[in-house]
């Protein structure tokens, strides 16, 4: 097997809170192959978004920084790369679509300009070429009458349209990796489906690998090949999507899957009560305490869970989980 497109090794991201520095992401390793779609799942505050930002060298500094590990993109370590090196990769080889389409576009420039400038910076295109390219991209992401829309300002477009523009910006240089950080959270359900259709269609056309960050298990099932579950800054389960949905191993993953509400079909059925995982994600200050970070919320927590942190162990083809229960089962 050839080297993966992107290989994250033992990544640690720390934030300075007051005088202390706390690692909010720890021991994180994962690979991404060409054209693959990887889902990163977890509740808010699990370190998904900050991991995504670190891939582009955009961890807000201060207070944050990548404090250990490597991010190897085509063999080049992006940790410690210069701004110039990173700028050649950002938007060109690796690009990102953010969660908030309403605020992610600059209000004072036309959407055409915001797409075109990316092409100018990376390809050195002329103004006219870049503008034509912008219109082509608008057409590609399914915006009607792109010649006119290119002259629009962001406030003249709906949320769904703006997210399409963000996708156009991200894809204008045909990147090898597209990171989508909860790209549809702020949008209507019907628009969500359209955006994901668009992602799949464009992935076929451009062949980019996608890292899809979400807390929506349904989206993961539809969109991804492989899933990684994060909790409190660590990877706790990983595997191909089919096995993950059918047979989740970590109690947290099982909890997440049980949280999906089901529509009851027959009118006589009382709807099932909504499932919830009790408690909340630990605050950054509470990280680094001994034991499994999920233990306080875990229905199966044992004595051992509270004192010793379980390591990630392989449990089959491409699957791994960090839970003491697995060892109990194996023993």
């Amino acid at each position: 097997m050839s080297a993966p497109l992107l290989s994250v090794r033992d990544l640690e991201i720390s934030f300075r809170l007051g005088t202390e520095e706390t690692a909010v992401v720890r021991d994180l390793s994962f690979d991404l192959g060409e054209g693959e779609t990887l889902g990163i799942v977890g509740e808010s505050g699990c370190g998904k978004s900050i991991t995504a930002l670190s891939l582009l060298g955009l961890v807000p500094n201060p207070p944050g920084r990548v404090s250990a590990g490597q991010i190897l993109f085509q063999g080049q370590d992006l940790v410690g790369a210069s701004e110039e090196q990173l700028n050649r990769i950002r938007g060109n080889e690796i690009s990102m679509v953010f969660q908030e389409p309403m605020t992610s576009l600059n209000p004072v420039y036309t959407v055409g300009e915001q797409i075109a400038e990316t092409a100018r910076v990376h390809f050195g295109s002329s103004r006219a070429e870049a503008w034509d390219r912008a219109i082509e991209m608008l057409k590609l992401v399914g915006i009607p009458s792109p010649e006119q829309r290119a002259h629009n300002f962001p406030h003249q477009l709906s949320g769904g349209m703006r997210q399409r523009v963000m996708i156009a910006i991200a894809l204008v240089c045909e990147p090898k990796i597209l990171i989508a950080d909860e790209p549809t959270t702020a949008l209507d359900v019907t628009v969500q489906a359209q955006i994901f259709d668009l992602f799949r269609e464009l992935q076929d056309k451009i062949g980019a690998a996608i890292i899809l960050i979400t807390h929506d298990i349904g989206v993961v099932a539809q969109m991804t090949n492989r899933v990684m579950v994060m909790y409190a800054g660590r990877k706790i389960e990983e595997g191909p999507v089919a096995g993950f949905i059918r047979d989740p191993r970590h109690p947290y993953t099982r909890g997440l899957i049980s949280c999906i509400p089901r529509l009851s079909m027959s009118p006589s059925d009382m709807p099932d009560p909504l499932f919830e995982i009790p408690g909340v994600v630990p605050a950054p200050r509470e990280l680094g305490a001994p034991g499994c970070a999920f233990a306080p919320r875990c229905p199966h927590a044992m004595q051992r869970c509270r004192v010793q942190d379980p390591a990630l162990s392989r449990i089959g083809e491409g699957r791994a989980v960090a839970c003491w229960l697995e060892e109990e089962v194996a023993a």
């Binding site: 582009l56 955009l58 701004e83 990173l86 700028n87 050649r88 990769i89 950002r90 938007g91 060109n92 690009s95 990102m96 953010f98 908030e100 605020t103 992610s104 576009l105 600059n106 209000p107 004072v108 420039y109 400038e117 990316t118 910076v121 990376h122 300002f153 406030h155 963000m166 910006i169």
Partner: protein, 322 residues
């Protein structure tokens, strides 16, 4: 669009009439009138003479008649006649408005430009020496009264280190209309403009610093960085244009304040502008001139607000109507 412009024009006219009426009434309420001042300078007069003078100036008529007549004259472009200066008020003001506009725009414009530059730089390096210096200087600029700063600047730059002239706008030996004349005026302009502009410099450096810090944390600046744009493009193209919006807003609003500040500064530095004229006309109860100046100041503020509006629309596409 046309409807909006018409509405705005109507508002402006009503505003100017209100300014005129209000000023007229206020000056009327204040003790003393031009006749008293004139009589004082003549060294006394009989009651009949005073009554005759009052009748000649129309001061014996009821207030509303006086205001009505004045408004009618202003509507026809006649601001009245100054008996003290023995000139029509309009030509008196037009003589003096140049120096005032020069002083006010120089002070405000340099305050905006330098203040924004300082603010933008210190926003990027929030813990640098420059950033702290800007904070301290702007605090000092805020707290110190204008006249005190003027006197201190005179003491420092004209007395202790005599490199700048203390007062006036020109040196008598330089012939008008030459290149040296322009330099000479600029030389004289430094101190008054500095005195007048310092507080605004302080204000704009703080305002643009705060605004820039806020803009640098927005999602669209993050997008600009994620696109791989070089740093200078992120700062000067994507962040700066959004960060100057509050600066433009305040510049328009504060123009009136700067004009009133100019009265003090012109008096301190004997700058031959509207401020000195206003000061003198208050002392001499030259109400016609004073009213004219107040009217012109209001007019300048209105014009400046319209200009601000136009600039604002050019910078921010979200503002289209009203």
């Amino acid at each position: 669009m046309i409807k909006g412009t018409l509405g705005k024009t109507a508002n402006t006219v009503i505003l100017l009439i209100a300014v005129l009426v209000l000023n007229f009434a206020m000056i009327h309420v204040a003790p003393g009138d031009p006749v008293e001042a004139l009589v004082g300078e003549m060294g006394g007069a009989t009651t009949e003479q005073i009554a005759e003078l009052r009748a000649q100036f129309g001061l014996d008529q009821p207030l509303y008649v006086q205001i009505g007549k004045y408004l009618w004259n202003v509507a026809q472009g006649d601001l009245g006649y100054s008996y003290y200066y023995d000139q029509p008020v309009t030509s008196l003001i037009l003589d003096r408005i140049g120096p005032t506009l020069l002083l006010v725009t120089t002070a405000l414009f340099s305050a905006i430009v330098i203040g924004t530059v300082l603010g933008v730089f210190s926003a990027q390096r929030r813990n640098s020496l420059l950033s702290h210096l800007v904070t301290v200087l702007s605090l000092a600029g805020f707290s110190a009264p204008v006249f005190w700063i003027g006197i201190m600047l005179i003491l420092l730059l004209s007395v202790a280190i005599p490199i700048l002239p203390i007062s006036g706008m020109t040196s008598s030996e330089v012939p008008e209309g030459t290149f040296w004349y322009i330099l000479d005026v600029a030389h004289h302009l430094v101190l008054p403009a500095l005195t007048l502009g310092l507080i605004y410099l302080a204000f704009y450096s703080r305002l643009s610093r705060a605004s820039m810090i806020e803009v640098l944390q927005t999602d669209y600046v993050r997008t600009a960085r994620a696109k791989g744009l070089p740093r200078r493009m992120v700062i000067y193209k994507h962040a700066l244009r959004n960060a100057v919006l509050p600066v433009v807003t305040f510049a328009g609003l504060q123009f009136g304040q700067v004009i009133s500040g100019a009265v003090l500064v012109e008096t301190v530095f004997a700058w031959p502008g509207l401020g000195t004229l206003a000061f003198d006309s208050i002392l001499r109860r030259d109400t016609t001139t004073l009213l004219g100046i107040l009217f012109f100041s209001a007019l300048m503020v209105v014009v400046m607000n319209i200009l601000t509006d136009i600039v604002y629309r050019r910078i921010d596409p979200r503002i289209k109507t009203a």
